[in-house]
Amino acid sequence: MADDDRTPPTAEAARAATEGTGHDALLRNDLPLALYVDMLRNRRIEEEIARRYGDQEMRCPVHLSVGQEAVSAGVCLALERQDQIVSTHRAHAHYLSKGGDLKAMLAEFHGKASGCCGGRGGSMHIFDVPAGVLLSLPIVGSGIPVATGAALAMKQRGEPQVAVAFLGDAAVEEGVFHEAANFAAVHRLPVIFVCENNLYSVYTPLKVRQPDLPLERLGRCHGIASVTADGNDAEAVFSLTRAAVDRARAGEGPSFLVFDTYRWLEHCGPNYDNDIGYRTQAEFETWRERDPVGLMAAKLQRQGLLDAGRQSELLASIDAEINEAFRFALASPLPEPGEVALYA
């Protein structure tokens, strides 16, 4: 990423963030630390968005991924830059883990001309072509066939790329999921359907929306290799994704990966909302104990790969990047009304 001043993609960011700290050699091939740095960075970014949301400078809905960082990290670090992801309304972490430009993302949330969509889309449409973030789409399920179509193009052109459709546990209820999955299966497309099961669709629990059966079944019924794993374990996510990527590149067709996880904050917006009654504090606490970032930190500490000094260096470096990106977003001008007419 020497060609411009964009934020580097995550795997590189992980390295960059640790550069000059004396640990380089150790980290170079250190997946757990890379996963950790990616998650920590996303956590800090989302927390900072939440903290600043009340300033009313980010005047669009935000769907934060706090608590779900292991999925984006594990999936996206298993991909190459030229692989494509299509995300949803809850797009920030996917975009960032895949290497999307932090400045362009925050500027977009601020409605600025320097935003990745030039202010046209807001938080639910973020994309980054060089990073392989093809599109994010706010209509539930709508991106699933789009990712599948990207995979069709890859197959038609004989390129060894892979496409990933991120989706929530609600998106499989949309018929379009099945339509895309069936087509992907018939044509053995290099697409991975990543279902982040956080148990809720807005405030509606899974159990009133679907029969009490493993989500996996919905990939398997289309003859798609399907598997479920702990979505708060970034290494598990990474290794299942890597296997799916290998299968896809080998022409063995699509996969359906279900990762169980939990959204900590409200569906849309910056707050904790365990008080409003759709889920229990106890349920929330159970999941918070399984904090993907904390679990990984503990593991790295046990393995001697992380200590307090290292942690504060990381935080300092990440926070500096975040502050700089917010400065950029705030300083950027709003787009001029006339510009809205540009399109053909």
Partner: protein, 364 residues
């Protein structure tokens, strides 16, 4: 239209819709409700709060995210005599259900030679605000209005919101209720009794002789402000709330234009191929000889809705633009309207373009 018996109270349109729904469900066991969020703690912008506690989850059905299927399910139940109210938090989500709506809901009464009825009400939230962007802000009134067999209504005030909701639920065939998100915040007098306002024809909300103005949904609230300012300056607007996009009954508007000779229509959605085109065309056909100038349409420019308040600044018609439009249509009005235009501009600048009121703080 039955005269409401009880004394009015001030309610928001959201509260009025909630009351209408509760009363309909109370009065008729066949009425039930289905939608993503109808039983959740936010209750569709407050319009369904408490219903599940009162009527139970069998009648307030929290649905999987499957708009097309659930619309078909609502239709099937309606064919069997139930009276479903289906709710979409955004009209944009209902695009997935267009086949069911434009075919099965709209055509079944026709195709069965009048034997079947489809007493289905579909609420769809429309419109702008808080950087929602291009896919959480659309309107599509003219799209649904293009399909014979649907009724399409757009309440603009709490009074109408309750009355039309009741009428929609009691209607024996499908009614699409397009509710502007910001209309939910509007306050007004609402009788407590169960009453309905008819799903036919526009309503005159201000009288005047110089220009006929037709506005619907949230645009009406801005038009009222503009009309009142213009009236104070001696320019009388005959202002109509369109209310019902289909069946489109322009009798009263045509009578008005015969008198004023001038017509402005404000679309809530895109101007191009919008509702205003049909109104302009029909009124021109009906009163060509009385028209002093061509009907003017205001509406959204020919672009998807941008998220950024920077881009949204010039995206929406508003009271100021309406007054400026009128000023250009009436030979001597520019002078008379200079003050009102300034006042309307000042009012407009008091509230950012992306919120309905200064208290609004997002996130949706």
């Amino acid at each position: 239209m039955r005269e409401p018996a009880s004394a009015p109270r001030r309610l928001t349109a959201a509260a009025a819709i909630l009351e209408a729904t509760a009363q309909c469900m109370q009065a008729d066991a066949r009425v039930y409700m289905m939608g993503e969020g109808v039983a959740d703690p936010k209750g569709i912008f407050g319009t369904t709060l408490g219903l599940v506690e009162r009527f139970g989850p069998e009648r307030v059905i929290e649905m999987p995210v499957a708009e097309n299927g659930l619309t078909g399910i609502a239709i099937g139940s309606a064919l069997m005599g139930q009276r479903p109210i289906m709710v979409h938090q955004r009209v944009d989500f209902a695009l997935l259900a267009v086949e069911q709506l434009l075919n099965n809901a709209a055509k079944t009464h026709f195709v069965t030679n009048g034997v079947h009825k489809v007493p289905l009400t579909v609420r769809m939230i429309i419109g702008r605000g808080w950087g929602q962007g291009p896919e959480h802000s659309q309107v599509f009134d003219s799209v649904f209005a293009h399909a014979p067999g649907l009724k399409v209504v757009m309440p603009s005030t709490p009074y109408e919101a309750k009355g039309m909701m009741v009428a929609a639920v009691r209607d024996d065939n499908p009614v699409i209720v397009l509710e502007h998100r910001w209309m939910h915040y509007a306050e007004g007098d609402v009788p407590e009794a169960l009453y309905e306002t008819p799903l036919t024809g526009p309503a005159r909300v201000r009288s005047g002789d110089e220009v006929t103005v037709v506005a619907s949904s949230f645009a009406l609230l801005e038009a009222i402000e503009a009309a009142d300012h213009m009236a104070a300056a001696g320019v009388g607007c005959d202002l109509f709330d369109l209310r019902v996009v289909r069946p489109l009954d322009l009798t009263s508007i045509i009578a008005s234009v015969r008198r004023t000779g001038r017509l402005v229509i404000i679309d809530t959605g895109w101007k191009l191929f919008g509702v205003g085109a049909e109104i302009a065309a029909q009124v021109t056909e009906a009163c060509f000889d009385q028209l002093k100038c061509a009907p003017v349409r205001l509406g959204l420019p020919d672009q998807p809705t941008p998220s950024s308040r920077g881009l949204a600044r010039s995206f929406y018609p508003n009271g100021q633009i309406l007054a400026e439009t009128v000023a250009k249509m009436i030979p001597d009005a520019a002078h008379r309207l200079a003050e009102p235009i300034k006042a309307l501009e000042a009012l407009r600048l008091r509230v950012p373009v992306d919120v309905p009121n200064p208290a609004f703080r997002g996130p949706f």
